[in-house]
């Protein structure tokens, strides 16, 4: 197990370098100059512009800028935001709980609905439920996220008034961050109605962000279950006289979960990408919205550092999934 972890961590090194290279060059390829953006509409004198360029080091060759950046990164310093002047690292971890809370809720939403839906569709293959579910899943998968979000807002916030349009918490409540998770902090604050407000604010973003994972998980679970249900060991389980629920949910699902877990690992990347859109639409103060805002401001350190930290998160999640594999599939554990 230790060897496995170490070898996986070694493969992180080239990925890590690759991500720094891409994020570093990506933001510089975009047209626009951070110093001009900082000056805003007032503009600035030639001398001032040159002085600022020198101050931020933009006058030096790219390779030496990258060298400076990497020296900082390896010392755990991602630089300070051009706009807020605060360290990128601190900003990221202030905002990350909001994204994490939303992502976890979206993933739970996708798993809790997607797994049973896939299983039931597989059992009733070709029947009405299966066909309805699979075509719905296809629609969910192909639908543009922003359009889906706007439709939900129009119906549930606009017409029905059931949910708030944006934000994480009603302005009526104020309490300090403890964990950064609104659901937990609102409970800890002990204010009446705060938790309900947190839940209400979460519902629409969760549905929007969870839709694609839900569709993918439902379809993947269905096809994995169909394959497993025709295996010899399922016949053996039936031949033992086990009730169908036990055959399906213990003997078959356990095996079907192996490919599903792979997909879940891959979906984490999708989830973070989706968070950028979802957070922008719902004004959700997480890293997705932070990244978008920073790209518009040409806030180089934030974009570079933010992308790097997101990539590291995805790598950690994938490593976790690989470890989880061993628990689900004994064949991998022993070899």
């Amino acid at each position: 197990m230790l060897n496995f972890l170490l070898s996986r961590l070694l493969t992180f090194i080239p990925t890590f370098i690759g991500v720094t290279l891409i994020s570093f060059s990506f933001i510089r390829v975009l047209p626009g100059d951070p110093i001009i953006v900082m000056a805003g509409e007032r503009g600035m004198s030639e001398e001032r512009y040159a002085a600022l360029r020198e101050q931020f080091g933009f006058d030096r060759p790219l390779i030496s800028q990258y060298w400076d950046y990497m020296t900082g990164v390896l010392q755990g310093d991602l630089g300070n935001s051009f706009v807020t002047k605060k360290p990128v690292f601190d900003e990221f971890f202030t905002l990350f709980p909001a994204t994490l809370e939303l992502s976890i809720c979206a993933m739970l939403f996708a798993l809790l609905l997607g797994l049973p839906a896939g299983v039931i569709a597989a059992i009733h293959r070709g029947k009405f439920f299966d066909r309805t579910l699979m075509s719905t899943a296809l629609i969910g998968y192909s639908m543009p996220i922003f359009w889906w979000a706007l439709m939900l807002i129009i119906v549930f916030s606009g017409m029905l008034g059931w949910t708030p349009v944006s934000g994480r918490m009603s302005l009526m409540f104020y309490f300090d961050d403890v964990t950064g998770f609104m659901l937990i902090d609102s409970l800890l604050s002990g204010q009446k109605g705060a938790f309900a407000s947190a839940v209400q604010h979460l519902i629409l973003p969760t549905i929007v962000l969870g839709t694609i994972p839900l569709a993918v998980i439902a379809r993947q679970t269905r096809s994995a279950m169909l394959e497993v249900l025709s295996e010899d060991y399922i016949r053996t389980a039936k031949a033992k006289g086990l009730p169908p629920s036990r055959v399906t949910y213990i003997h078959a699902l356990r095996n079907a979960l192996i490919p599903v877990v792979t997909v879940i690992g891959l979906l984490v990347g999708t989830l973070l990408a989706g968070a950028i859109l979802t957070e922008s639409i719902f004004s959700w103060p997480g890293i997705g919205k932070w990244m978008v805002d920073s790209i518009f401001r040409r806030d180089y350190p934030v974009v570079q550092g933010g992308l790097l930290l997101i990539a590291v998160m995805v790598m950690i999640v994938n490593l976790t999934v690989d470890v989880l594999y061993g628990f689900i599939n004994p064949k991998i554990r022993k070899s």
Binding site: Y233, R235, T236, K238, A239, R254, N255
Partner: protein, 325 residues
């Protein structure tokens, strides 16, 4: 009273290109403690017939029969829940591929104890003790450690022993072994057959051995039923069948045994078992039969008397001497 009585069992599969009749009028009568072999080529419907008896066929199968009685219970129209109380307990089955017949995600111990809990309601320590006893009975060394193994950590022969232990866990009255040795090495084959027969003698359960291997039949069975294209073509006592087969198909199968070959080339039966689209009108074996006449090609063959092994043939061979005269 017969332990298992099946009369005129027919199994049809709905396929996209019409119905396919896999089993056509299958009959069988088994007394407690009988050892019967069901022989036939691939596609002769021998496994399907017993999967139908176990109730393990997929929903695409339509099963009809005049009689299907097991141990005083009518299996026809039995609710799935009642059926599950019988299968795995009084009637159990082992399969061809031991490596894929066990669930790769669970230890073999878990898979054995499962049946004990469901059918016998044993508690944890009783189940553990019984599982060890079963492993010893089927000849698995170091049962304590083996119970914690996963199927992929054991050999095919060991896995088949696990399957057998699982099948006999609740002391069944009937064990159906569907080609139990086909996927195994020759040396292991002999061991597994020996184990099956010795377990049968020990427990007095009835044993049905589904196989295409005449050698296996000769070694283990008392009664033999020969299947062809979903029909039973002959049924005899094992000695009688080997000495005086009455159906040309049986005779051809026996002639194809290497041990019996007289010429340099091993005799074979030309052609294959008819499938869904090339089913002949008359006797199903007529296209491949060296004795076939026009009558055989147009009229389905009648079933002969028990003396002629219920042979399904217009012209049974090896007739008793007095009848020839």
């Amino acid at each position: 009273m017969a332990l298992l009585e099946v009369r005129n069992l027919t199994v049809e599969f709905a396929t996209t290109s019409g119905t396919f009749r896999a089993v056509d009028g299958f009959d069988l009568s088994l007394d407690p403690g009988d050892v019967t072999a069901i022989v036939g080529e691939s596609g002769s419907g021998k496994s399907v017939a017993f999967l139908a008896v176990m109730g393990l066929l997929p929903w695409t199968a339509t099963i009809t029969s005049d009689v299907m009685m097991f141990d005083g219970t009518d299996l026809n129209g039995l609710s799935p829940a009642r059926r599950r109380q019988i299968i795995g307990k009084d009637m159990s089955m082992i399969f061809q591929e031991p490596m894929t017949s066990l669930n790769p995600c669970f230890t073999v111990g878990f898979q054995i104890k499962e049946a004990l809990r469901i059918h016998l309601g044993m508690n944890r320590s009783e189940r553990h003790a019984r599982a060890i006893e079963l492993f010893e009975q089927v000849g698995i060394p170091a049962p304590e450690t083996r119970l914690r193994s996963f199927p992929h950590q054991m050999s095919g022969g060991m896995n088949q022993r696990v399957m057998i232990a699982m099948a006999i866990a609740c002391k069944p009255k009937l064990l159906i072994a569907d080609e139990p040795t086909t996927a195994l090495d020759v040396t292991i084959q002999a061991q597994i057959l020996e184990l099956l027969t010795s377990l049968q003698e020990e427990t007095g359960m009835a044993l049905v051995l589904i196989t295409h291997d005449m050698g296996v039949v000769a070694e283990t069975a008392e009664q033999v039923s020969v299947q062809y294209a979903g029909q039973k073509v002959e049924q005899q006592d094992v000695r009688a069948l080997f000495s005086t087969p009455h159906h040309p198909y049986t005779a051809a199968l026996l002639a194809a045994l290497p041990e019996r070959a007289v010429s340099k080339h091993l005799p074979t039966i030309p052609g294959v078992v008819p499938g869904q689209f090339d089913r002949p009108d008359g006797c199903l074996f007529s296209p491949r039969c060296q004795f076939a006449t026009d009558l055989c090609r147009t009229q389905p063959a009648p079933v002969a008397t028990p003396e002629l092994g219920y042979s399904r043939c217009h012209y049974p061979i090896n007739l008793p001497v007095e009848e020839v005269v």
